[in-house]
Structure formats: structure tokens, C-alpha cells
Amino acid sequence: MLRPILQRLGSAAVTLFLGSALLFLVLEVLPGDPAAVMLGLEARPDTLAAVRAELGLDQPALLRYLAWVGGMIQGDFGLSYTYRVPVADLIAERLSLTVPLALLAILISTALALPLGTLAAAKHGKAADAGVMLFAQLGVAVPNFWIGLLLILLFSLTWPLFPVGSFPGWGDGLLPGLRALFLPAVALALPQAAILARVTRAAVLEVMGEDYIRTARAKGLSNRRILIRHALRAALLPVITILGLQFSFLVAGAILVENIFALPGLGRLLYQAMNQRDVIVVKDVAMLLAAFVILVNLLVDLAYLWLDPRLRRGA
């Protein structure tokens, strides 16, 4: 049991290391002079020199890389050049929006997909099945930022049910914050729900052919009980896998959706930092988002080991 776990932890660590090296290489070594990138072509030589000194760019690249990684491990992400505050503070503030947004989107998508997928499998070949499959096809085809625009048009401008362009924070209790995050979470969740509904349907259909389902039926269990107790439980493993695999799309979606709804989250921070050419913030936030994706995939791998004993013998 220990060997496969260590193996997966090891590969995740290697991937994290390669990711940080790649980002550092692309953002700080390839351009030659990051200070010139940040200040633009019209920068005066003395300002350039001052920024270089401030950022420690006169140090060799390897030392700078080690200092960057070492700092990040200790929670020190450096100083933002445009905001003049520690990047760690910026990130912590933005995380309090992006993490709840992602969790709410995952919650909405599973709450939609599990019943829809099970329904489609139970009514295999009937109209309800066709309807769910149509939803699944349309859901993956429609861009989430377009859904976001249409939701704003319908539920913020035409019928002002939800606010747009303002996030009250979590100071006045949960409700105002959740209300501001609801529409963006729906926009993020719909494409995800479409994929998950399809996966749930396929998994439930597969289980329904198994012998133990026939046994349960022979015992006199109702169809509903069989679906919920046996079939849906078996569908959880593929659903968790796909949720993990789709996590990078959730990260990408959050960058877009936060920008449409003008939500001050990590995605918007990254976008603004890009426009201001704040290489330090871009590097830190991109590393953090990539690390999220790597860690979520590691968790899925470990969950798999736990749920499926056959994999424990090691690859």
C-alpha cells in the first residue's frame, strides 16, 4: 500500500518542480531582463536600474529561482511591483472569493448531474434520456462566458434578482456573498454538469447490468432504492475521476467568469497583472493555479487507490 502512494506523491512533486522551473524559465530567464518587460520600452535607465536592484535581478538566475521557491514554501510570494504590497496578502484576499466560487460550482454541477444522469439511465432509450443527452451535448458546446453574459442580461439587468459587478465579501454573513457568487457559479457549473451527467448515465447503465442488481431486484427492492443504494454509489468513482480531470477547465473557466462578473478573485488578479505586466504577480498566481491542478489530480489518484484495491499492487 505504501509504495504506490509514495510513487504518486513522488510524481506530483516532480511535476510541481518542473512547473516552477518552466514558469521561471519563461518569465524570468528567456526575456533577458524582466525589469524591461515590466517597465516597457520607454523606461529610463535609472528607473530600470532601480527596479533591477529592488527585485534582486543582479543575482544569478539559479539563486533567484531557489529564493523564489524557498519563499513560496514559507508563504512569502514576494512584493507586487504594481500594488506595492506582498503578493501573499493579495492572493489570500482573492482566494476567499475564488475557492468558494469553485466549491459552489462543483456543488451545483454535481447536484444537477447526479439526478439527471441517473434519470437518463433509468429511462434508457426514452424521451427523458434523449433530453438529458441533448442537455449534455449543448452544455459542453456553449461557452461558459457566454452563459455568464446571458445570465447577467436575464437575472441582473432585465429582472434585477442578483447583483453584478460587486462582491460584498464575507463580513455581513454568508448570504450576501453567496448571492453575489450564485450566477457566476451557475455559469461555471453548467458545462461541468453536462459532462458529469453523461458520465453518471454511462456508469449507472453499466452497473444496472450486473448480477448483484438482479439479486437486489429478486429480493424485492424497489427500482428507486436500487438506483440510489447501488447504482448511484457505483457511479461515484467515475464522477470523482472526471471532476478531478475537469479541474483544469474549472480553473480556466474561473479566469473568464470572474472577468465577466467583475469579481475580485485570483483569475481577475492574474488578468490585471498581465495587463500591467506585473511579472511577479503573474508568476506567483500562475504557479498557484497550476499547483492546484496538480494537487487535485494527486488527490484523485490517491482516492482511486483507496477505492480500488486492485491498483495498490503498484504500477
Partner: protein, 271 residues
């Protein structure tokens, strides 16, 4: 006909997107870049004719057609990059095994951790946005997809008896891959490429929406949507038209991919 419903619908939708894109090179209903301020914000099928005009009075039908060409070119180029590099890496991993395979797998994990939008933003902070940035970012994200599919499919092919026979007859590794492995896995790769094309169109629209994709004033579906934000209540059709174009073409390529898979492998059944 009914058996291959998704193939036919997919073919119709993806085909019309490609036809409109090609047509835009030969004929356009109007100059997509010509601004006519007096005729701005005309709704579709109104007095201005055709599909109406945007906030600058530019013809929407012409912009949508050129947008189709731009969107498809970026998506095709990006999938071509991903396919070439991914198939090469996947084959290498399957043939060499050992540390080469481990390296390819780690590289796949690494590229997979950077969604196209993330790497496009990182690249844009350095070299600015544009079609090249979009192709590079989407292409890089496609590499691990094709590398994994190729590796898994090739490993399955390499266990067959005729491969052993070919090996015994003295064929080298690369001859073997070219003569026996690639033709066997080509069908699966075509299906995957079609589906990745759909995803690439979607991602390109997202990049152009953020302003790191196709550079203005060259029309793109994503930026048409971004421009529509300002006039959401006054001219909702500005958001509806490009959004529908994106959704229909993505739907088309997805259905085409599904349909091709069922057609090539009828036993697998619809998933």
C-alpha cells in the same frame, strides 16, 4: 440515417462552419471593418438588411464569416501542433518504455497543469496577445492529450502477434511504428482530433474574449462577445449572434467526433 444521426448533424453543422469560413475568403456581404456610424446598432433583419450592425456600424454577417475563418484557422493550427508533438511523444514512450516513458508521462502531467487560458495569459504578459500566442497556448495544452491517447493505443497494438513477427523479420522500431502502429491507431486519433478541434474553437473564443487571442481589428467571435458587454440591454443580439455561432460550431465538431467514433467502431456504442 437514424443510426448515424450524430454523424450527420455534426457533419452538417461543422461543414457549414467550414463552408462559411471558406466563402469569407471569396465573397463577403460587406466590408467587415468598414464603420458606418449613422447605421450603428441596427438589429438583425431590420432596415440595414442581413444580420444588422454593431456599435461602430460594422456589418455583423461579414464579421461572423471572417470570425469563422479566424477561429477555425487558429483551432486547426493549434490541434496540428498538439497532434504532431503529442503523437511523436506518445509513440516514443510506447516504443522505448523505461525512463523515456516516465519522462513523457511527467511532461504530460506538467503541460496538463497549465490550461490554455493560463499559459496564454503568461505568454501575453511577455510577448503580448495575438493569433500566434493563442495557437501556442492551445497547441501546448493539446500535446499531453494526444501523447496519452497515442501511448495507450500503441501499447495495446504492440502486444499483438503480428508486431512480434514484424520485429523478428528485422524491422527497426521506427519502421515498425510507421508501418504497423500508426495505421492501427489513426482512426482513434482522427476522432480525438475532431473533439479537440471543438475544444480549441471554444478556448480560442475565450482567449479573444479576454483580448489575448486574435488581435483587433481582425474580427473574432470571442471579441464580438466582449464588445457586446457594453450594449447588453440595448442590443442583446450583439451577444446572441456570436455566442450562437460558437455554440453551433463546437456542437458540430463534437457530434462529428462522436459520430465518427460510432462509425469506426460500431461495437463501442454511444457513450
Amino acid at each position: 440515417m437514424r443510426r448515424h444521426l450524430s454523424l450527420w448533424i455534426g457533419l452538417a453543422l461543422a461543414g457549414s462552419t467550414m463552408l462559411l469560413a471558406l466563402l469569407s475568403r471569396l465573397w463577403l456581404p460587406a466590408d467587415p471593418l468598414r464603420m458606418r456610424i449613422p447605421q450603428r446598432l441596427q438589429p438583425p433583419f431590420g432596415s440595414a438588411g442581413s444580420l444588422g450592425t454593431d456599435a461602430m456600424g460594422r456589418d455583423l454577417a461579414a464579421q461572423l464569416m471572417v470570425g469563422a475563418w479566424n477561429s477555425l484557422s487558429v483551432a486547426l493550427a493549434a490541434v496540428a501542433v498538439g497532434l504532431t508533438l503529442g503523437v511523436a511523444l506518445g509513440l516514443l514512450a510506447a516504443l522505448k518504455r523505461g525512463w523515456v516513458e516516465a519522462l513523457v508521462l511527467r511532461l504530460s502531467d506538467l503541460l496538463f497543469a497549465f490550461p490554455a487560458i493560463l499559459s496564454a495569459i503568461v505568454l501575453a504578459a511577455l510577448i503580448g496577445g495575438g493569433a500566434g500566442t493563442a495557437v501556442l497556448a492551445i497547441g501546448l495544452f493539446n500535446v499531453p492529450v494526444f501523447a496519452r491517447v497515442t501511448r495507450a493505443a500503441s501499447l495495446a497494438v504492440l502486444t499483438q502477434d503480428y508486431i512480434r513477427a514484424a520485429r523478428l523479420s528485422g524491422k527497426g522500431r521506427f519502421r515498425l511504428a510507421w508501418d504497423h502502429v500508426l495505421p492501427m491507431i489513426a482512426g482513434g486519433l482522427i476522432v480525438q482530433a475532431t473533439i479537440q478541434l471543438a475544444l480549441a474553437i471554444l478556448t480560442e473564443a475565450g482567449l479573444s474574449f479576454l483580448g489575448v487571442g486574435i488581435a483587433p481589428p481582425n474580427p473574432s467571435w470571442g471579441r464580438m462577445l466582449a464588445d457586446a458587454q457594453t450594449y447588453l440591454t440595448r442590443a442583446p443580439y450583439l451577444a446572441v449572434l456570436p455566442g450562437t455561432a460558437i455554440a453551433l460550431s463546437v456542437l458540430g465538431f463534437n457530434l462529428l467526433g462522436d459520430g465518427l467514433r460510432d462509425w469506426l467502431d460500431p461495437k463501442a456504442g454511444p457513450r
